[in-house]
């Protein structure tokens, strides 16, 4: 016999498909989770665990309902918020989807609803980090002509900036590598592909992402020097404003910024 007040925790892999499957399961099994855990995380005591198995069919049904209830912009907001990789997003996102499915009219602009507000704000943070990477990626030209950049974004936004750089540098070969998440995108012949490297690869031995002389194009050092010179020259000394400088260019990004390297 099961407990009347049984508490459920859903285990899922933090993908969009699993989240939608979780919503389907919740309604089909009349089991609503009190919390989510990621794969491999240990469940709290005294709760039952429901393992969400991502299912295209189930997810698809929930998604089609969402499409009827929400605007395209709100859907992007939901799917992109996941790149924040925030465990505390699980429940608000789940509840948001449930409410949207049940509601007769779109709830996406009801910012007095804490779940809508939280998901929307998370999405904004992801967008901001994406923009920061579009700003702060610095390429170095390698000896074979590939442009290389190392990043360490707060959220997992690399996939979100690949379309931008594919359009911008469509004729070049480039590699942007997320050091913390240990994967990158390599773009060549007009096509980006996701890449990973062995632990022993040279890429993990570049502490500030800088290529040594032997790895880089003969003129690379000169252009870095030109850029640093420009960066210093363009500043008006009478207007120094270190506070604003640090606000717009947070210190945690300096490591990989050519103009901040010595």
């Amino acid at each position: 016999m099961t407990h009347a007040a049984e508490e459920w925790v859903f285990a899922y892999d933090r993908t969009w498909e699993s989240l939608l499957t979780a919503v389907f399961d919740a309604y089909a099994l009349r089991r609503f989770p009190v919390a989510f855990i990621g794969e491999g995380e240990v469940a709290p005591l005294f709760v039952s665990v429901h393992r969400v198995v991502p299912d295209e069919e189930k997810a698809g049904r929930v998604f089609r309902t969402l499409q009827r209830k929400l605007s395209a912009g709100a859907l992007t907001c939901l799917t992109s918020s996941l790149y924040a990789e925030l465990p505390e997003l699980d429940m608000p996102l789940f509840r948001y989807v449930c409410k949207a499915v049940k509601s007769a009219r779109s709830i996406e602009t009801n910012f007095a609803d804490p779940d809508v507000l939280f998901v929307t704000n998370t999405y904004r943070n992801v967008r901001r980090e994406r923009l920061r990477m579009m700003q702060f990626v610095r390429f170095q030209k390698t000896a074979d002509g590939t442009y290389f950049s190392m990043i360490e974004p707060d959220y997992d936004v690399l996939p979100l900036i690949v379309p931008h750089f594919s359009d911008r540098f469509s004729e070049e070969r480039w590699l942007i590598f997320d050091r913390r998440r240990r994967y990158g995108y390599y773009y060549a012949d007009r096509r980006p592909v996701r890449v990973t490297f062995d632990d022993s690869a040279a890429i993990f031995r570049l502490p500030d992402g800088r290529l040594g002389e032997e790895l880089r194009d003969a003129d690379e050092g000169m252009y870095q020097e030109l850029w640093r010179t420009y960066f210093k020259a363009i500043c008006i000394k009478e207007r120094l404003n270190p506070r604003k400088h640090r606000k717009d260019l947070p210190v945690r990004y300096w490591k990989y910024l050519t103009e901040k390297q010595r």
Partner: protein, 424 residues
């Protein structure tokens, strides 16, 4: 291109830095096959921020800082004994391309001192832009400063390659301008502005007929006024801005707090620090005109010709008009909500969207990003009403919101909101 380029770049960036325009906004251009770059539209991308807090979006540099003119407010005037340099067309093109491919910049902002004559100089500026677009198939952003006195033909050619062009007014009042820059007058500024406007309007017409007709300065034009070098009031400055924004292609007016570069010139005031607070207030007022539907007469008038340095112009307006408050958050029009101090465009939009679902409380407003510390005196939302601007009187509210004197938050000249901060 080695040591020598480094030296020239240093000199010519230092000479160009007093032009405050930096934006790469206003054009959307996708990448093309065989080309390099794109332009993202919107507000553009800032790639870095200099230590003075200004954004670095474009490679802002002069072609040369030699100049035959002697404008009193300019570091590059011919009478100044400063290092001079000239970059060649190919050096400029190469620098732009190499910086761009490393994602340092969105494009190029090129200006120049006047050498030999205006057309000779303008022609070289145009050549740089033309080479970038046609030889290197560069799709990034190009901002060209038009040389005062350049011919219509050259301005028209420049417009085919540039995203934005600018002609700086510098001094809002013509007699002051003539005093400080004897070789210039307002006609030499407004004439090229007119060429640019006409070119852009004609191209827009053409493009209605043929979709592939060439674009002409798709991001429009901008201008700059120096603040604090001459005696104009904020009302003079803002009235001119307002008139300029009334023109079809004028997108941005920049305000540049005068940096005393030529202290020896008796025609200019000896300022220790540039008037940064005033400059910031002007940007806020400009912002109110462009995004908050304020008319210039509401911001400055005969009785108040200068902006209040102590409070931002939106709060200043509210304090002069207590009869407009309190505003009922759950009922008032969007336009009126936007006028509440402490509520910006973003929160105002959230408010009008959300209140359809139910009454909003002060708690909701806070979560939506309203600055309640200010807004509380100007709103009602049907709950724990604090005393408002009418009970406390405008002077009372002002003293509550202005930082106590003698305890500046930061050392002089380093206010945190010094640059283009949105007034909320």
């Amino acid at each position: 291109m080695k040591e020598d380029t480094l030296r020239k770049l240093k000199i010519l960036a230092e000479s160009a830095k007093y032009d405050v325009s930096c934006s790469s906004s206003g054009t959307v251009r996708r990448g093309t096959k065989g080309g390099v770059g794109n332009t993202v539209g919107g507000v553009g991308i800032c790639h870095s921020f200099a230590e003075d807090g200004r954004c670095i979006s474009l490679l802002k540099v002069m072609l040369t800082n030699y100049c035959i003119y002697d404008c009193a407010y300019c570091i590059n005037r011919r009478g100044n004994d400063i290092p001079r340099a000239t970059l060649s067309v190919s050096e400029l093109v190469e620098l732009t391309m190499e910086f761009y491919k490393r994602n340092y910049i969105e494009g190029l902002f090129l200006s120049s001192g006047v050498v030999r004559n205006p057309d000779y100089t303008m022609e070289r500026l145009v050549r740089v832009a033309k080479d970038l677009r046609t030889v290197h198939r560069f799709n990034g952003y190009i901002h060209l400063k038009s040389i005062p006195g350049a011919s219509r033909e050259l301005v028209n050619e420049a417009g085919l390659y540039a995203d934005r062009m600018s002609v700086n007014i510098e001094i809002p009042n013509e007699s002051s301008l003539k005093l400080l820059a004897p070789e210039k007058d307002h006609a030499s500024v407004y004439r090229p502005m007119g060429y640019i406007q006409q070119g852009a309007l004609e191209s827009a017409e053409e493009r209605k007929k043929h979709r592939h007709a060439p674009r002409f300065v798709p991001a429009g034009q901008s201008t700059q006024m120096i603040v604090g070098a001459t005696g104009e009031s904020d009302r003079d400055i803002l009235s001119l801005s307002s008139a300029l924004y009334g023109r079809p292609t004028m997108r941005r007016v920049y305000y540049s707090g005068y940096v005393a570069v030529n202290t020896y010139d008796p025609r200019l005031p000896a300022l220790k620090l540039p008037p940064l607070v005033r400059e910031n207030r002007l940007y806020q007022a400009d912002w109110l005109m462009r995004f908050y539907q304020f008319r210039v007469e509401e911001i400055v008038d005969e009785a108040h010709p200068d902006l209040d340095l102590e409070v931002d112009p939106k709060l200043a307006w509210a304090l002069r008009h207590p009869e407009q408050f309190p505003v009922d958050i759950n009922r008032a029009d969007y336009e009126m909500i936007l006028r509440v101090p402490g509520i910006g465009v973003k929160s105002a939009r959230l408010i009008v969207c959300s209140r359809r679902f139910g009454r909003l409380t002060g708690f909701d407003l806070k979560k939506m990003g309203c600055v309640m510390k200010r807004a509380q005196y100007f709103i009602t939302c049907g709950e724990l009403e604090a005393k408002g601007v009418n009970e406390l009187h405008p002077e009372g509210v002002r003293s509550l919101l202005v930082r106590p004197k003698g305890r500046p938050k930061q050392p002089d000249g380093q206010l945190s909101f010094v640059f283009k901060e949105e007034p909320v």
